[in-house]
């Protein structure tokens, strides 16, 4: 197999006494879509934040291609350009228009020509159904629109890998779909992505591999068919049962009969 784009080796992360990531090994290859699921507080966000060196790690190593991601590295800004990150809370820059949000980093960081980036930005906005919104400010957009802009902003840096941290969790239900569709499209284009989500149907549809994280450990790392149909661990079964309404229903029937 080819070399992975991203490799986590024995990554350990503590917050004080609290071990949040415990000896994590994970490789992501070109074009792979990895979906990370697990109960709240199991360390999913922390894992993504460590990959982007927004959090220091206390043990192990993280490599992007062959370069070590180190929070003290001089090349960190350079590495971060290759890692696109989309946050649950969008984090558009409120003082800038949609177009300025997108164009800022490519022109200032990558020193690309403004006209060229603007054209690309408009093309990408068109692809996510937001043409005409380029002059708007974040406060004038719906949550789903903001999140699509945030995705375009990340894409415009031409990242090698995209990280999504529960990007639909703050959205009203009717807006979830428009964002998930954008992500499905990206997957179809062969983008390399790590997605943290609680949308199980979406996970099943988009994932090449499912990682089940619990207590800071990778308990399962397998194909979605296997994970959803026949999880190996009891913890994963318990976790999945929270999304199963027919289980509850049959229990209700048992009680009432």
């Amino acid at each position: 197999m080819a070399e992975p784009i991203l490799a986590l080796k024995n990554v350990t992360k503590h917050f004080g006494e609290n071990t949040v990531l415990d000896d994590i090994d994970l490789s992501v290859h070109q074009g792979e879509v990895i979906v990370i699921v697990g109960p709240s507080g199991c360390g999913k966000s922390t894992l993504l934040r460590c990959v982007n060196a927004l959090e220091p790690i206390q043990g192990g190593e993280i490599y992007l291609n062959d370069e070590k991601i180190d929070i003290k590295s001089k090349k960190l800004a350079n590495l971060r350009q290759k890692i696109g990150m989309v946050f649950q809370s969008y984090e558009l820059f409120p003082h800038l228009t949609v177009l300025e949000n997108i164009v800022l980093a490519p022109t200032k960081v990558q020193k690309r020509k403004k006209e060229e980036v603007q054209q690309e930005a408009l093309a990408l906005l068109g692809r996510v159904g937001l043409l005409g919104k380029e002059g708007s400010y974040a406060r004038q957009l719906s949550g789903g629109q903001k999140q699509r802009v945030a995705i375009v902003r990340a894409l415009c840096m031409h990242p090698e890998i995209l990280l999504f941290d529960e990007v639909t969790a703050a959205l009203d239900p009717e807006m979830v779909r428009e964002v998930l569709d954008v992500m499905l499209n990206l997957a179809a284009q062969g983008r390399t992505m790590i997605i943290v989500t609680h949308e199980m149907q979406f996970a099943k549809a988009v994932a090449d591999r499912i990682i089940f994280l619990d207590g800071g450990k990778v308990l399962e790392d397998t194909k979605p068919e296997v994970f959803f149909e026949a999880p190996k661990t009891e913890r994963a079964r318990q976790f999945l049962s929270m999304f199963e309404f027919n289980v509850v229903k049959s229990q209700v029937e048992k009680v009432s009969s």
Partner: protein
């Protein structure tokens, strides 16, 4: 002039506090407490008599400018600081994740937002400093210093008496200031979360 220096000084102090520069941030917080909790008059005495003592010559004008800068600097620092604090740290992370350097993050993302938050406090400070200026230009600086000389003549020990004066004011004003910042924190918890 004094106000311009005050703005600059305030900006530098706020940056030192924001980036938690070791040692310097202590110096800054001592300076801010000192300058906010002593009246301008006392600060002027100090500059006028204190600086020559350590070998720096002053005149009334420089003294006025320095006094204004010293007083205004802390108020401006507080205005900038509250603006910087209003920008959520995840905005910074979002900028960093796009590959921006710390400098770019500050210049393009944090500062523009912080300054727009600071503007009302900023304006109030400028007005406040203007008023202070008119006070000591009306009395005329020299007069003021003569009065001080007379006063000090009574007590004899110049430095000590001035020092006592400052301490006295601190004792009265520090608790009020602490109470104020407690209240401010309370208020912040109370309602502004998004």
């Amino acid at each position: 002039m004094g106000i311009t220096i005050a703005i600059l000084l305030g900006f530098i102090c706020a940056m030192i506090q924001y980036y938690k520069v070791p040692i310097l941030k202590r110096v800054v917080s001592v300076y801010i407490e000192l300058s906010r909790n002593t009246p301008l008059l006392v600060q002027l005495f100090f500059i006028y008599y204190g600086l020559p003592k350590i070998g720096i010559q002053t005149n009334a004008e420089i003294c006025g400018i320095a006094g204004l800068a010293f007083l205004g600097g802390s108020y401006m620092a507080e205005a900038f600081r509250s603006g910087l604090e209003a920008v959520d740290s995840i905005q910074t992370e979002s900028a960093l994740s796009l590959g921006m350097s710390n400098y770019q993050t500050m210049a393009y993302v944090v500062l523009p937002q912080a300054i727009s938050v600071s503007i009302p406090a900023f304006m109030a400070n400028i007005i406040f400093l203007m008023k202070e200026t008119s006070v000591f230009s009306a009395i005329s600086l020299m007069d003021l210093m003569f009065t001080a000389k007379d006063l000090i003549g009574l007590y004899y020990k110049t430095t000590e008496s001035l020092f006592l004066l400052v301490v006295f004011y601190l004792i009265i004003l520090l608790p009020i200031s602490i109470l104020g910042s407690l209240l401010e924190r309370r208020l912040r918890h109370a309602g502004f979360g998004s």
